[in-house]
């Protein structure tokens, strides 16, 4: 068990360093933050790479293997981030009054035009040790919940309507888990007096999620190390009618990939709006939710290069320019969808200009940054591209936040990012071997046992 844990930490040390930096910096900024499910994400990436299957025949009992994955998936992040949160709290207390800190209310942010960190708008007063305790405790519970979800994720394409519904539900919840946590954490109490009934409910449910996740660990191991059962074959032979259709070739690609990506973005935004609306009542949602939607669009755009089976596309009779344009279609559609949501639903942008101006500027920026993310990720075939994705997302969120009030700058950044992405794509399609190497982590077969892939 010790060797497995050390091996995991050796391979994912940079993720833990990033998480520690994140927790420390947010804590000294007045917001302790424990991203509990992050380790489960790493575990599922490992599962996609076949690590579970490699470890399975090693002389470590099955029970111990399951316990190891549970320890890593549930306890690792809360434990590792405990230290930076404690240190950050000390730093915070050394420069702030420990009780009764009143932060800038939302209306003052709007009127003065000076933007405070988006999360701080939800913090009226602050008791650092209490807040840190709540965040770590809830982070632990959320990690347990995500471990449970991760265990239930389908390991093969669903057959039949019920399996499809279950797979969609579990997959949707899994997709929302990390963003859900980032929506939830700012709404947790900062002082004991701010505790509400639903806070109590969440805090009380933590042991349940942790314990139940422990009992699902063997199932996670079993599901991730068993080859999928082949689909049932129909009795009748196939006929050309089954693959003929009016929509084929490039339009078929666009319908498949663009529609899929857009629908996912729409679904996640809808859940986000409903969830945030439920938590905050009729209060304005603020820039945080809009930036989160933008981040989703950037992620989907960046990952579209992983999903599109580039090697297959390259062998088709398309020129390099045509192929680059085809690849850019997904970031563009994501940009349109995210900008429409951000500018209209969330009212994100410059209130002094027409909504259409905000929409256009945001579309260009989100599409450009998403395309840049895709081009950057395609240049790496190793695990480094997870880091690339994180960096691109941070930069994009920062750019959108800082330039939201100046649509012209936003548009200019977008144009520059689009041009850069275009050049990088053309360069990569022609010269980069990494573009065409197999992509194991985020591919369409993520989570499938590698023996079958």
């Amino acid at each position: 068990m010790k060797l497995l844990i050390l091996d995991f930490l050796r391979r994912w040390w940079w993720m833990f360093v990033l998480l520690c930096l994140l927790s420390f910096s947010t804590t000294i900024g007045g917001f302790p933050f424990a991203l509990g499910p992050a380790a489960m994400f790493c575990l599922l990436v490992d599962a996609g790479r076949g690590v579970f299957r490699v470890v399975r025949p090693l002389p470590v009992p099955r029970r111990e293997q399951a316990q190891t994955w549970w320890l890593l998936g549930v306890l690792a992040v809360p434990l590792v981030t405990l230290l930076p949160i404690v240190l950050g709290s000390f730093v915070y207390l050394s420069v702030h009054d420990p009780v009764g800190v009143t932060l800038v209310p939302p209306q003052e942010i709007t009127s003065s035009g000076v933007a405070a960190p988006p999360m701080s708008i939800f913090i009226p007063t602050y008791s650092p040790w209490f807040a840190a305790g709540v965040q770590i405790w809830v982070g632990l519970g959320f990690a347990g919940f995500c471990f449970l979800l991760g265990s239930c994720l389908p390991t093969r394409p669903p057959e039949g309507i019920w399996e499809s519904i279950c797979a969609m539900l579990v997959g949707g919840l899994w997709g929302l888990s990390i963003p859900g946590l980032t929506i939830l954490l700012p709404h947790l109490p900062r002082t004991p007096s701010a505790l509400l009934p639903w806070h109590w409910a969440i805090v009380a449910s933590v042991p349940f999620w942790v314990v139940i996740s422990y009992f699902t660990a063997p199932d996670l191991l079993r599901r991730r190390t068993t080859a999928p059962v082949p689909a049932r074959k129909p009795a009748r032979p196939s006929t050309p009618a089954e693959w003929r259709g009016h929509v084929t070739g490039v339009p078929f690609y666009l319908v498949n990939f663009v529609a899929r990506s857009t629908l996912m973005l729409l679904f996640i935004s809808l859940v986000q709006v409903l969830f945030t609306g439920w938590l905050t009542g009729s209060a304005p949602i603020g820039p945080f939710a809009a930036i989160q939607t933008v981040c989703f669009a950037i992620i989907f755009s960046a990952l579209s290069g992983e999903w599109c089976a580039l090697r297959t596309l390259r062998a088709l009779p398309l020129s390099t320019t045509q192929l680059a344009a085809l690849l850019m279609a997904v970031p563009l559609s994501n940009g349109v969808m995210a900008a429409a949501l951000a500018s209209s639903w969330y009212g994100f942008g410059d209130a002094a200009v027409p909504m259409l101006v905000n929409f256009v500027a945001q579309t260009v920026a989100i599409a450009g940054l998403g395309a840049l993310g895709m081009a950057a990720m395609l240049h790496f075939a190793t695990g480094l591209r997870i880091l690339v994705l994180i960096i691109v997302m941070w930069i994009s969120a920062g750019v959108l936040f800082l330039c939201a009030k100046t649509p012209l700058w936003l548009a200019l950044v977008g144009v520059a990012a689009t041009a850069l992405a275009w050049l990088a794509l053309l360069r990569g399609l022609r010269n980069s071997a990494a573009f065409y190497q197999p992509r194991r982590f985020f591919g369409v077969s993520i989570g499938q046992p590698t023996a079958s892939s």
């Binding site: 259709g245 089976a309 090697r311």
Partner: protein, 290 residues
């Protein structure tokens, strides 16, 4: 009219930090099955990737049916099909959807032939691609490449993971398209016994260089394994066309390319008790790539 060869590679070079391909010259004539063999990491996939624009060569030219692979990339891909182990159609979900996607790009798509291949390979239109076995996915890639009758079919490890029945079908289809339709096949494979039976020509790639090339039967015939006794070791230190396999004191064992190193040349250097025996393609491959 003089028809250009199906594939013509001239002075091709591609450099990576730890590997260099070429300089390499290779010509695949029309209407032939050309087998490209080489150990792992010899550069077979790198060479094939260059044909389809997956990376651009540092030097040299590639012409497919007389067309430059970079300048006429669309025209080249309208004539050449590619099957490789890393092709992934899972993004399209089901077999029928992958077919529907690819047939949109191929004006010469043959539905009747596609149906026949599906039956032969045991594929069903409604099957999920992600649940297909590795061999099943290879069969799908082969089907998508064969069903539009390409002029040049480039196959990178097409028989890996598929069963003996399917392998037989694959080679029978390949022979069919070469004999009946005068099309060309470039096949990179480790199945040397299959290539010895089916390939008209073979090229042996080793460390990025083409170390032997020619008609399969002729290549095998002209190479011999020779054993002899000799006291003068210096005379055999560097003989063109001779690949030493083993030396035990005065006893030598080597593979000879009789075209450049005839047996008489050994005798003239003092070889005694000279004995020779023919080689199989596999033995030749092992000797040349040791």
């Amino acid at each position: 009219m003089n028809t250009p060869p199906a594939l013509e590679i001239h002075a091709l070079e591609k450099h990576y930090p730890r590997f260099a391909l070429g300089p390499l010259d290779l010509t695949v004539p029309n209407g032939a099955i050309y087998g490209l063999i080489g150990p792992n990491g010899a550069g077979k996939t790198t060479l094939i990737d260059q044909i389809f624009g997956m990376g651009s060569p540092d030097a040299g030219t590639i012409r497919v049916c007389g067309l430059d692979h970079a300048r006429d990339e669309v025209a080249v891909k309208e004539r050449a099909a590619y099957v490789g182990p890393d092709l992934n159609f899972a993004a399209w979900g089901r077999v029928a959807k992958a077919i529907r996607f690819v047939r949109g790009f191929r004006t010469t798509w043959d539905d009747a032939y596609c149906t026949r291949l599906m039956q032969a390979f045991g594929l069903e239109a409604n099957e999920r691609i992600a649940t297909l076995s590795f061999g099943g996915r290879t069969k799908l890639s082969l089907l998508l490449a064969l069903a539009w009758h390409p002029q040049l079919l480039v196959l990178d490890e097409p028989t890996t993971g598929i069963d003996a029945h399917s392998k037989k079908i694959v080679f029978s289809e390949l022979l069919g398209i070469v004999r009946d339709e005068a099309r060309t096949v470039l096949i990179s494979s480790h199945q040397l016994s299959d290539l010895e039976r089916f390939a008209d020509r073979v090229g042996v790639l080793h460390r990025g260089r083409l170390v032997a090339e020619g008609a399969t039967a002729e290549l095998v015939e002209r190479h011999l394994q020779a054993e002899w006794e000799a006291d003068n070791a210096e005379a055999f230190a560097s003989v063109p066309g001779m690949t030493v396999q083993e030396r035990d004191g005065s006893r030598w064992r080597a593979v000879l390319d009789t075209l450049t190193c005839p047996l008489a040349a050994l005798a003239s250097r003092g070889a005694r008790e000279l004995r020779t025996q023919p080689l199989t393609l596999e033995e030749l491959f092992l000797a040349l790539t040791k």
